[in-house]
Amino acid sequence: MTDTSAERLGSVSSGNALELRGVTKMFGALAAISDVTLSVRPGERRAVLGSNGAGKTTLFNCVTGDFLPTSGTIRLFGEDVTSFPAHERIRRGLRRTYQISLLFGGLSVADNVYLACRGVSRNRFSFIRPRRGDVLVTRALELIEAVHLTSSRDAMVSDLSYGQQRQLEIALALAGAPRFILFDEPAAGLSPTERGELVAILTNLPSHIGFVIIEHDMDVALRVAESVTMMHNGRIFKEGTPAEIEDDAEVQELYLGGGHG
């Protein structure tokens, strides 16, 4: 997919794509995340790992705007979005996939992706069917191609396998001109073959699109990421390259037996 405007935007903006400073989120007396400071450069591929309860999903929810952080700032491409509602962040190029796929069960794969493309474009009501060669229709087909679902293009979502649904979930996040994507456990429940496909899809994403991936499966995460942030009990515990993290003694102690959470 070649979206030159997004590429240009990505390379022009100096500084980080995503920057968190001192972000804390309390639920009552419980600190789900405390004093999280991290930065991700444009186009960087970061994995955030940690056991259940480490605060990874809360972190995501703060970044997308589903939660308001108790304290701290969040900057998206240099802009302070800490108090912005979710749809404003989407407009600035942020996308997200969900741990449990939120798909449109009564529609086909093609229709699902088409809706995603249409949504992030200007949404007028249109009571006219799109013509042949409509820009958004073509776009949707390209995205379906990018997630290896072309053969299931007209299948109903309810007829897809679980793995295919996860692929579709990713396609929805790729619609429009995403500059930064948050992948929430995309490999959950996938078979080894499907995991291989997932890794292929993620590594083949255009280089200007940065992403953060939450995963329990260390294998997948370490293969697609160029840097890793480990969280524990709501705090950042360690950062480094995949190789460094894999060999780290403390990490091994905490996560005996590797990737299963």
Binding site: L115, A116, R118, G119, N123, F125, R129, V137, D154
Partner: protein
């Protein structure tokens, strides 16, 4: 189709329609040649009209995920407006010309439907039935008590279509064609709109409003607009119904009538636009012929309500997708039928899709 990228010869819509449909269309067009006045007016006319109103319910329920019981009321309001703004046997009518009162009636009824939608869509889906039923009931009681506008209990009589082009549109053959054309147009409109960006977005809202909102769509706006679209169809159907009966009264949109539309839509099937018309035909046949059947069994002819209720319960129990659902299941089983002679699995999928 919204998503079609074949660069070479693409089928025009004419070629896409399965042959069975052409046969049905021809039969419907030629019907007056072999059917009597009663069948044309009372059976088919009524079927098309009820089918239209049930179609508006099916649009909201099947494509929008909102089961609304206000459709019959919208139709009745359209009929009332035609009676009030046009001519009738009652002094209250204003006697405006037809090119004024017909569009005005449709407009007023659609506005009402939109307003009800605006009230109903801000709550969870399950409340929609309750809210729309309550408003429909309020309308019934209000029209029954109000004599200044709605002429209370008696309503308006002698409400007939205007004599356009020298034709009395309430005669069986003209009325048949009038209702056939209106029904066909509504059906085509629904089929078309279902695959426009608006229609797809509405289905998206049905399936996952949270994701639609996350994708940047206004969920409420789509739902309310769906009510507007459905209300236009219901309004036209209501006007035709009132012309057929030549009268409109609170009983036109009484609770039993409101429930009947839901029964028709569910029995026919809420998933495809042809469902409401199938349901309407079944309902009309039951209403017309069951008194004779009941009498044959020694029961009063009035017990047709019981038959309809029990039939409805059976459908909900065994085939919640209605008659269409039964048809789909039968076709699916036939498609994967095993040839009794050779034991081979015969795969004969296919067929039209409206």
């Amino acid at each position: 189709m919204a998503i079609e990228a074949r660069p070479t010869a693409e089928k025009s819509w004419i070629e896409q329609v399965a042959p069975g449909w052409w046969a049905v269309g021809l039969i419907l067009l030629a019907m007056p040649a072999f059917a009597g006045d009663f069948v044309l007016f009372q059976v088919f006319g009524w079927t098309f009209v009820l089918g239209m109103i049930a179609l508006s319910l099916m649009f909201l329920a099947g494509y929008g995920g909102m089961v609304s019981l206000i459709q019959m009321t919208v139709g009745a309001l359209g009929g009332y407006m035609v009676a009030i703004l046009g001519t009738s046997g009652t002094a209250l009518s204003l006697g405006l010309p037809w090119w004024l009162y017909i569009p005005a009636a449709i407009l007023i009824a659609s506005l009402f439907g939109t307003l009800v939608g605006a009230l109903a869509v801000r709550t969870e889906g399950i409340y929609t039935i309750m809210i729309t039923l309550a408003i429909a009931s309020a309308f019934f009681y209000f029209t029954r008590q109000n004599y200044g506008i709605f002429n209370g209990y008696s309503g308006f009589n002698l409400v007939v279509p205007p004599q356009l082009f020298g034709i009395d549109w309430r005669q069986p053959v003209p009325f048949y064609y009038l209702t056939l054309v209106c029904a066909a147009l509504s059906y085509a409109a629904v089929v078309y709109v279902a695959r426009t960006p608006f229609g797809l977005a509405l289905q998206g809202v049905r399936d996952n409003p949270r994701r639609m909102a996350a994708l940047g769509f206004s969920v409420t706006a789509h739902r309310v607009a769906a009510y507007t679209f459905a209300s236009v169809i219901a309004a036209v159907g209501g006007i035709l119904l009132v012309w057929q009966n030549a009268q409109v009264s609170p009983g036109t949109a009484g609770i039993p009538q409101v429930i009947d539309i839901l029964v028709i839509a569910v029995v026919g099937g809420l998933k495809r636009p042809i469902g409401p018309f199938i349901g309407a035909l079944i309902y009309v046949l039951l209403r017309v012929f069951s008194p004779d059947v009941l009498l044959a069994f020694g029961l009063s002819g009035e017990r047709f309500k019981l038959l309809i209720g029990m039939g409805f319960l059976l459908i909900v129990f065994f085939s919640p997708d209605g008659v269409l659902g039964l048809w789909e299941k039968w076709r699916a089983r036939r498609a994967h039928a095993v040839d009794p002679l050779s034991g081979a699995v015969r795969d004969t999928a296919g067929g039209g899709r409206p």
